[in-house]
Amino acid sequence: MKRRKILVIEDEADIREVIIYNLIRENYDTLGASDGEEGMRLIQAESPDLVLLDLMLPGVNGLDICKRLKMEPSLGSIAIIMVTAKGEEADIVLGLELGADDYVTKPFSPKELVSRVKAVLRRSRAERQDETGDRIVREGLVIDSSKHSVLVDGRPVELTATQFRILRFLALHPGRVYTRDQLVNQAIGQDSYVIDRNIDVHIRAVRKKLSKYMYLIETVRSVGYRFKDTGE
C-alpha cells in the first residue's frame, strides 16, 4: 500500500518534531511547516492525505487554511485534524463546520494523536469506497436504510423519521464529531424545522431507544455529537 503523506503545521518546533517523530514510527511520510504560508505552499506542492493543523498560527491562521482547503475542489479531499488548546471551543465548532474531520486538544498524548490520524484516514478511505450504508451494523445495532428499520439485539425499535436520519448519519461516520448545525443541515436537511438545540432533544430520544447501546452516541462537550468509533 502506498504510504500516506501527512503535513504537520505547527509553529512550536518541539511539538512539531515530536509529532513527526511519532508519525514516522507509524510509517507515514511527513512534512513540517512552521506557519500558515509555508503550510499552504506545501499543501499545493505535495498534496498530502492529511493535515495536522494548529489553529493558533502566526500569520495565516488555522481556520483560514481550513476554509481555503475546503473551498478548493482539488484539495477538498485532504483530511484535516485540528490541534488546539482548550478554551477554543468556538474555534473547534467553526473548524468542524468549515469541514475539518476531527480535532485534538493540547496537551495531547502522541498515541492518541496517532490513533486519531489512523481513524480519520480509514474513514476517508471508507467514504471514498462509497459506503452508502444500506445496512450498517455497529455492535448489536443494525440500521437498515432500505427497510427504514433499526434492530437492537434483533428486536426492532420505533424511531421517528428525524431520529432515524440522525442515527444513520452519525453511525455512517463513526468517530467523527458533528456540530449541531451540521447535524441539522446534513443529517436532517435544511428544509426541516429542527433548530440547533432541538437536536439535543432528538439525540436524547434516540439514546433512550438504543437502551444498552446508548453509549454509542457520545456527547462532545461544547462542540456536538459523535458516534463511537469501535474500530471496525
Binding site: E12, A13, D14, I15, V18, S34, P58, A85, G87
Partner: protein, 590 residues
Amino acid sequence: MFHSRFLWRLFASYAALILISIAVIGGMILNRMENDSLEEIKRSLKSQVILFKDIAAGYLTGPAGDSIREHIRSLGAELGTRLTIIDAEGVVLADSQKDPAIMDNYATRPEILAARSHGYGISTRYSSALGSRMMYLAIPIKRYGALLGYARVSVSLISIDDRISRLRSIVAGGAGAAMVVALLFGLLIARRFSRPITQMTPVAESMAAGDYTKRLPNGRTDEIGKLSITLNRLAEKLTERVETISKDRNKLQAILESMVEGVIAVDDSERIIHMNLAAGKIIGVLHDECIGKPVWEVTRLREICEILSATIKNKREIESDLKITSRGNETVVEMYASPVFDAGAELVGAVVALHDVSQIHNLERIRRDFVANASHELKTPITAIRGMVETMIDDERMPKENRTSFLAKMRDQSIRLSTIVTDILTLARLESAGGLLEKTRTNLGDLVMAAASPFRVSAQEKGVSLETEFPGAPIYLPVDREAISLVVSNLLDNALKHTPGGGLIWVRLNAGESAVTIEIADTGIGIDPIHHPRIFERFYRVDKARSRELGGTGLGLYIVKHIALSHGGVVTVQSEPGEGSVFRVVLPSE
C-alpha cells in the same frame, strides 16, 4: 372691589326695594291728599249751593233785574266761586263771571243731566274757557214739583292742582334725598358684607393655585370670621402637608440622583414620570428634559422601550441586557424592570433600573483574555514535554541521539515553563497588591548597579560591552527595591537578547528637576515602530518564534510598564529596526 358682582347684586336689590317703597308710599300720600282736598271743596260747594239756591229760586220766579245779576256777580266774587243760574231748558240766565248772552246751552253738561235725574249733580273737568280744571255742582230748583231751573256753583281747582303738584315735587324731592342717603347707606352695608368675601376670594383662589402663603384677616366674630379662620387653618394644614410631601420627595429625589444606577419610571402609557441623572448619562440624554415625554420619543434604544412595555403588559419583573455603542465605546447595561402598583394593586406604570456593567465586563474580558493567553502559554511547553516523555516511554528502542535531543529539549521547555510561571506569579503579586508597594528611600544608583551586575558575565560571554553612566551625586527616591530591580533586569535581559556580539548596552541614570530617568539603550536589532504601541501588552511578541527561542514569555515589558505606572511613572520606547532601542523609565522625584 367695584368689580364684585356680589356687591352689585346686593346693592341693586337694596336700591330696588327702597325705590319701590318710596314710590308706593309717596303715591298713596299724594292720592289721599288730592282726594281729601276735593272732598273739602265739594263740601264747601254743597253748602254754597244751598245758600245760592234761594237766590236762584227768587231769580227764576221773579222778574229778572239787573240788581240781582249784580248781586250774583258780587256774591260770586266774594265767595271766590262762579255762580250760574240756568233755566229748565238749559239756557243760562245769569252768571257771576260771564255774560249769559254769549254762553252756550248747558242742558247737556254732566252736572245738569245728573241734577235733573238725581236731584244733584257734580262734575270735575277741564274748562277750556277758563283754562283750568273746574269742579261743578248743580242742583235743580223746583216749585210745587215743577222744574224751574238749576243753580250751579263751580270753583277752579287750579289752586288745589298747584298745591298737589307742589306737594308732589316736595315728596319727590324728599324721596330723592332719602333715596340718595338710603342708597349710600346701602352701598356701605353691601360693601361691609361683601368685602370679607371679596377679600377671601383671591386668597382662596391662590390656595387653589397652590400658594399657601397668604392668610385672611381675622377679628370678625360672625360666620364670615369663622369661615376665614377655617380657611386659614386649612391653609396651614395644607402647607404642612405640602412641606412633608416635598421634603419626602426631595429626599427620594436626592437618593435617586445620587444612585450610580440609572432609574427610569414611566406611567402606564409609557410616559416618563421620573428619570435620574445616571439614567440620562447612560442613554445619552439630558434627564430633566425627558419628564413627561413618551419613552420611545426620548430614546432610540429599542431594548429600553421593549422591556418597559413588556413589564407593563405582563405585570411582572423582567431582566435583560443592553449594549449601547456610541463613538466607538461599548457600554454594557443590565436592566431590571418591575411593574409599579398603587395602593389598590392597580398597575400604574413601570420602573427600570439600568446598571452599567461595562467596567465589570471589561475586567471580565481582560481576565478571560489573560487566562486564555496564560493557559495557551503554559500549554505549549507542557504539550511538548508530555509529547516527548510519552514518546520516550513508548519507543524503547529510540536511538540515543534522539533521546539526548529530546531530553535537552525537555529541559529547555521545563525552564521556559518555570519562567512563565514565575512571570505570571510576579504579575499576580503586583496586581493583587494593587499598587501597595513596599516603598523605601533608596539610593537609585546602587540599586540599578546591583540589578545590572548579574548581566556583566553573560554580556562578556556574548561579546557585548555593558556600560553604566551615573551622575556624581547620589539620587534618593522612595521605591519598591524589588520591583525596580525587576524593571532593570527585564530591560537588560531584553537588550542582551537582541544585541548581537560586538554591540553596546548602556545603563544611564539621569536626575531631572521633577523626574528621574532610568535609561537602557542598546545597539541591537531594534523594533519596527508599528509594534511600539503594542509591545507593552501582555503576551505580545514582535517575533513569536524568535522570542520562544530566546526564552521570552511576552510578559517582561508588561511587568516593566506595570511597575512604572504603580510608581506614578511611565515607560517609553524609542527604536528603529537595525538602529537599536532605547527604553526609558521615568519616575517622578520627591
